[in-house]
Subunit: 143 residues, 2 copies
Amino acid sequence: MFSNSSKYAIKAVLFLAVNSSEDHRIMVKDMAEPINVPQAYLAKLLQELSRKGIISSKKGPKGGFFLSKENSQLTLMDVVNVIDADDKFNACLLSLEKCNADKPCPLHDLAIPSRSKLIHSLNQNSIKDFSMQIEQGKVFLPL
Amino acid sequence: MFSNSSKYAIKAVLFLAVNSSEDHRIMVKDMAEPINVPQAYLAKLLQELSRKGIISSKKGPKGGFFLSKENSQLTLMDVVNVIDADDKFNACLLSLEKCNADKPCPLHDLAIPSRSKLIHSLNQNSIKDFSMQIEQGKVFLPL
DNA sequence: TCCTAAATATGATTTTTATCATGTTTTAAA
DNA sequence: TTTAAAACATGATAAAAATCATATTTAGGA
Ligand code: FES
Ligand code: FES
């Protein structure tokens, strides 16, 4: 479903959403272990997310990564789109050219309705929404 | 969702379901192009499927691959399980140890219900069921 | 029996993804 | 103004997935 990189990015962003703020930045070395991602790889991912404006960062001593108000209004779809191919969610499950409801492949009707729901959720809920759910103990972000 | 190999395997099996029979076997070179899979790679996949008893084959002149009655009673889940890792459908979307409804990750409730439905469909419908849908023109198997 | 056409077995190569490593730039604080 | 701590940029390596290649075995037909 998601690439490893996407999973890492999602975990990292949600971790920042819960644990960081404009004036409490988090260093890559302090989040690698909690979210269980190889530190050097995480560093690369965070830098890319930062470059693309998904997360924010500050260099130098007392620097680190954090989510601005604007960042936390983005969606997890925004996050995933930075990492994975654009058509990830539009492709036919069997890679039959384009996924097309008028000429559905044998898996289309089984899978697409649910996939659409997931896409919708990823597009609707902001990062903030997710972090609130975590803070309310409704969902969890362990390893 | 599915690996490339799984997609290829599904396409190949469904192609055989529709086009082959015990006494009308199909050679790998005759199905590679129709289902749009590199011939040598397809050969390897078909051999593995055959070894695992998902499809049938006959060597030598007039040989080829086909689906026996028993083969076509298998499910697409059986096909996928030959290729992909066993826990493919049980893993947490964010790879948080085990997917666990009691301690759901932020994506669990968004994605798992639909995934369960898909799994159920893959387990319930036989290959034969799918080939009938294709023959009835309800779904399609182009490229 | 011999030839040939097919699957089978096995391994090599390529491509993609994931991971690691290291030098450069920025910035807070002494 | 010097130092050090952090992100940033870039490239190298490793692992996995996909693809290609080729020698071996089986079996039908001349
Ligand atoms: S046509 Fe294959 S998933 Fe839509
Ligand atoms: S806990 Fe993550 S998908 Fe179930």
